[in-house]
Symmetry: C2
Amino acid sequence: MREQFHGELASLSEQMVEMTQLAGSAINRATRALLDADLVLAESVITADEELDRIQAAIEEKSLELLARQQPVATDLRTIVTGLRMTADLERMGDLARHVAKLARLRYPASPIPAQLHSTILEMGQVAERVVAKTGSVIAGRDLVMASELEQDDDQMDRLHRELFTVLLDPNWDGGVEAAVDVTLCGRFYERFADHAVSVARRVTFLVTGERPPVPHHAS
Amino acid sequence: MREQFHGELASLSEQMVEMTQLAGSAINRATRALLDADLVLAESVITADEELDRIQAAIEEKSLELLARQQPVATDLRTIVTGLRMTADLERMGDLARHVAKLARLRYPASPIPAQLHSTILEMGQVAERVVAKTGSVIAGRDLVMASELEQDDDQMDRLHRELFTVLLDPNWDGGVEAAVDVTLCGRFYERFADHAVSVARRVTFLVTGERPPVPHHAS
């Protein structure tokens, strides 16, 4: 009985890892859709988000069932309840990738991102992919070293995010207001994507160590 | 024992209502700080957010304790687990009010919002206050009529949000890029604030009726 229960917990964990893979694939494709003005790719991200929603709903139902049937306490209880919060973060990351893809679709056949900011946004996309891949490893292996690395990736994301504003607010900015609005929104989507990844990693850390990691200095 | 348990559930619900009051006060003051460039008010919102975080942490701990001690099933279990999600939404609403206040502080002694958009942002602030007040009533009284009204308020918020972009992207926009960036961010903060309120109301509706409300057409 106990063994079966832990098998079910492991299966929930695997589904969360699958969510990180889907979110990673989504943000990768959304970034390419955004920079290459690729409508087909953008549509694929928008459609694929349903799968993340479906897995989240399945995890929620299964978690409630386990709580009712197994009546777990202590660590097992905390694992399930924390898992529900992590799942919500992962689902939200899918939404944010979808937001990026929707912006790509809205401005098609142009790219919403002016040429001078392509490399910064590309890098934000790469950092986003990296953090979500690490989030998967943190969930799968409870790897606290990687959880701490992830914080540094998030610092890099924040630097890139500030870089966007530096370019936008430079008196020499000649990209116009529409591009400034689009860049502002995209920047926010990538930054939030990484924030949610950090949030997941922190929850795993808290589960493993019992200690809440300090609130990051760049909390905003 | 049973009675005490339901008393404890009621107390969690009261704390959530208190969170809506704090979030409502925060968004009211943040809007005034933003439009009147009031630094003291902005600082007060930023500081007050800690209280929301504190209540959230308290609700989480109490919920885990109730799950472990009472081993609830069926509706009681769902009420506690759903309450955890609602609490996360309410805490996030406080964060969003704080984001608005931080933008007011960043641009002080100017207002980040150009005069031509003051009335739209003021209205967004009023809608935000209205939705969070209704959210409180929905939590306190499980009032499904109000939950449905709240959806309409959210539609109004979306209209106001689109109105911002119409003004920003008009060729006659002369507010400059910095104001466009600030307006874009603020618009997003108010819109997300209302989204979280809707999310809370939907969770209550689901608890009461057992049916998930349809995903809103404006889901973005």
